[in-house]
């Protein structure tokens, strides 16, 4: 087994993927083919228990539970009103409702893992209001596309769960590690909106033709009620994990029950409502778990065949310093993210890349946050940037797609700079989980 064989295998796999075969099928096919060449049919026997093991894994049970949680909150309309409440508080900053876009997306993110649903819901509420007030379309669309990506960084995040199971690191610690970078990135986005506004003002350009009016404090305080459900759910999940009361799976179960209670109080609890939520949950779970099952099957071959070892040694032979390695990975993920969706990118790279970075002395928890940040970036880099298409699809003014790209570019640059900051100052990620471990 040489690096050449590995390269041939990798190129074949990419070819099959690009033609349009299901990602799960290609992964299993490569695993079986490689396994047969290296070991013969014996290897297939060991894949059975692996498949059952993945299906029966309690940690992964958190995936459907968190998806269901997001669906319940998103589809109940609780989320729409968050936007209105946030607008009262953030709408008068320089940049106005653009802050509300980012804030609402990140609050959503704290409850839901789906970026399509998040960007679509916030976008539907926000874009008409933004258009009416005369905000620049590129700025509106950019904040929505970028804000939508926060969902996979701010816990609870299904993507961090997937990383945790593939890299076998603690999901609880990953969640805790995601909090500070998630908040910082949100604030950095907002900081950029402020700077951009001040710069525009200095050249005589207002944010919008109509600005938000100032409401009395009493009304603004009353509106905070709408933020309660999201805050409670976030506190239950993160609080119980942080204090060590519950595992991520248990915290998800608790949060689902509380979310049901909010939905019921909202008067939304009906069979039709649950039907939609259940269907979406089943669909997304089936999609994610088939891919994870495939990834574990492929891992049997990768691990037993020593393929990860071959690649690790090859990379070690290049003599890169850890920082150099990480910068190379930034470029690698940036390019991959332009052509692949987040989930495929993660399952295809994590099993191979994590052993390499761990061998180079990089913390796997830190690297989880890195991978998720790079995935976020992938969501807003064309040609395959899911969030770009989503916000373009939600807008009703019929403007060109280039508006969205123009609006999203500054945020893509911010994310890149933010990633570099994390490479230079890893403590931003590690401080909270380390303080947790004592």
């Amino acid at each position: 087994m040489s690096i050449l064989d590995v390269t041939i295998g990798f190129v074949t796999m990419m070819g099959l993927l690009m033609i349009g075969f299901p990602v799960a099928v290609v992964m299993v096919a490569m695993g079986v083919l490689g396994g047969m060449i290296l070991y013969g049919p014996v290897l297939l026997k060991s894949m059975g228990p692996v498949l059952w093991g993945v299906s029966n894994e309690n940690v992964l049970t958190a995936i459907p539970l968190f998806i269901l949680l997001g669906e319940l909150l998103l589809r109940s309309g609780l989320a729409d009103r968050m936007y209105g409440a946030l607008a009262l508080w953030l709408g008068r900053l320089p940049g106005g409702l653009l802050h509300t876009n980012i804030g609402a997306c990140s609050l959503f993110a704290a409850t839901s893992g789906s970026s399509v649903a998040t960007a679509a819901t916030v976008g539907t509420v926000a874009l008409p209001a933004l258009g009416e007030r005369g905000y620049d379309p590129a700025r509106s669309l950019g904040t929505l596309a970028a804000g939508g990506t926060l969902g996979i960084l701010i816990p609870p995040s299904v993507n961090l769960l997937i990383y945790g199971s593939l890299a076998s690191v603690s999901v609880g610690q990953l969640f805790v590690a995601g909090i500070i970078p998630g908040i910082l990135l949100t604030l950095t986005f907002m900081g950029f909106v402020v700077l951009e506004s001040l710069w525009r003002r200095s050249r005589g350009l207002p944010d919008a033709s109509k600005l938000e009016e100032k409401l009395p404090l009493k009304d603004r305080l009353r509106a905070l009620v709408h933020l309660v459900p999201a805050a409670v759910v976030f506190l239950i999940v993160m609080g119980s994990i942080y204090m060590g009361i519950a595992t991520p799976t248990e915290s998800a179960a608790l949060a689902v029950l509380v979310a049901l209670l909010f939905v019921w109080r909202e008067g939304r609890l009906s069979f039709a409502f649950l039907d939609v939520c259940f269907r979406q949950t089943a669909k997304t779970t089936g999609m994610i778990l088939l891919i994870i099952a495939a990834a574990f099957t492929l891992n049997v071959t990768l691990a037993l065949g020593g393929i990860t070892g071959v690649i690790s040694n090859w990379v070690a032979g290049l003599g890169l310093a850890p920082t150099g390695l990480l910068f190379a990975l930034v470029v690698f993920y940036l390019i991959l993210g332009m052509f692949m969706d987040v989930l495929s990118m993660q399952v295809l790279t994590i099993p191979i890349v994590v052993p390499i970075v761990v061998a180079a002395g990089i913390d796997p928890i830190w690297f989880g946050i890195f991978v998720v940040l790079m995935s976020e970036l992938g969501m807003i880099t064309p040609p395959v940037g899911m969030n770009l298409y989503v916000v373009q699809g939600v807008r009703t003014d019929g403007g060109p797609f280039s508006d969205v790209i123009r609006g999203a570019i500054p945020y893509a640059v911010i994310m890149l700079l933010f990633t570099i900051l994390l490479i230079l100052v890893p403590q931003i990620v590690m401080w909270l989980p380390q303080s947790l471990m004592g």
């Binding site: 990602v23 299993v28 498949l51 089936g286 999609m287 989503v390 699809g393």
Partner: protein
């Protein structure tokens, strides 16, 4: 097909809600009263084992299994239709492969009469049988669908193939979300 997906989803959703209730009760009992029902973890694993394999079918019917469509969209329609057929057939073969490797697990469980290494001592054949049935159903549905895709391709009904078997585009997914939003 749509109805099958709806019923599987209902079953799955109900199982998740039941699990949530059970786990929440267990967590509260454990932390507040220091006693335990035990087995919440185990139950969670079984719900996932059956639920996920059944959910493969829902994702299949909703065309949600991930495919990378960068090049796919650029092929001529006829080539695209053949690839769509090959893709759904490959999912069927994957299902059959899962049945094949899963069989080793089932055989072992039966011959050793394995039980879970937990206080419940669940005979593993029960959850595994449900899991295996889910996988079998997934294989059957994908093979049946690939038969349909083949008939459509051969009959030259290319548009219909695209409609039923092409990966969902971002626009379609979004249209669904917006439908849900306006339905509220």
């Amino acid at each position: 097909m749509d109805r099958i997906a709806t019923w599987i989803s209902r079953l799955f959703g109900a199982a998740l809600l039941f699990l949530s209730g059970f786990v929440a009760l267990e967590t509260v009992l454990r932390k507040v009263f220091n006693t335990s029902l035990q087995g919440a973890d185990e139950l969670g694993g079984y719900v996932l084992a059956f639920g996920a394999s059944a959910a493969f079918v829902v994702a299949l019917i909703d065309r949600a299994h991930v495919r990378i469509d960068v090049l796919h969209q650029r092929f001529p329609v006829k080539v695209r239709a053949w690839i769509d057929f090959a893709a759904v057939l490959s999912l069927g073969i994957l299902g059959v492969f899962f049945l094949y490797i899963g069989w080793f697990v089932i055989i072992d469980t039966i011959s050793y009469k394995s039980t879970a290494a937990t206080p419940w001592r669940t005979p593993l054949i029960y959850p595994q049988a449900a899991w295996y049935a889910g996988l079998a159903f997934f294989a059957a549905v994908s093979l049946w669908l690939s038969g349909r895709a083949l008939r459509l391709v051969l009959a030259g009904r290319i548009d219909q193939v695209a409609k039923e078997f092409s990966p969902k585009t971002a626009e379609e997914e979004l249209a669904e979300e917006l439908d849900h939003l306006s339905a509220r």
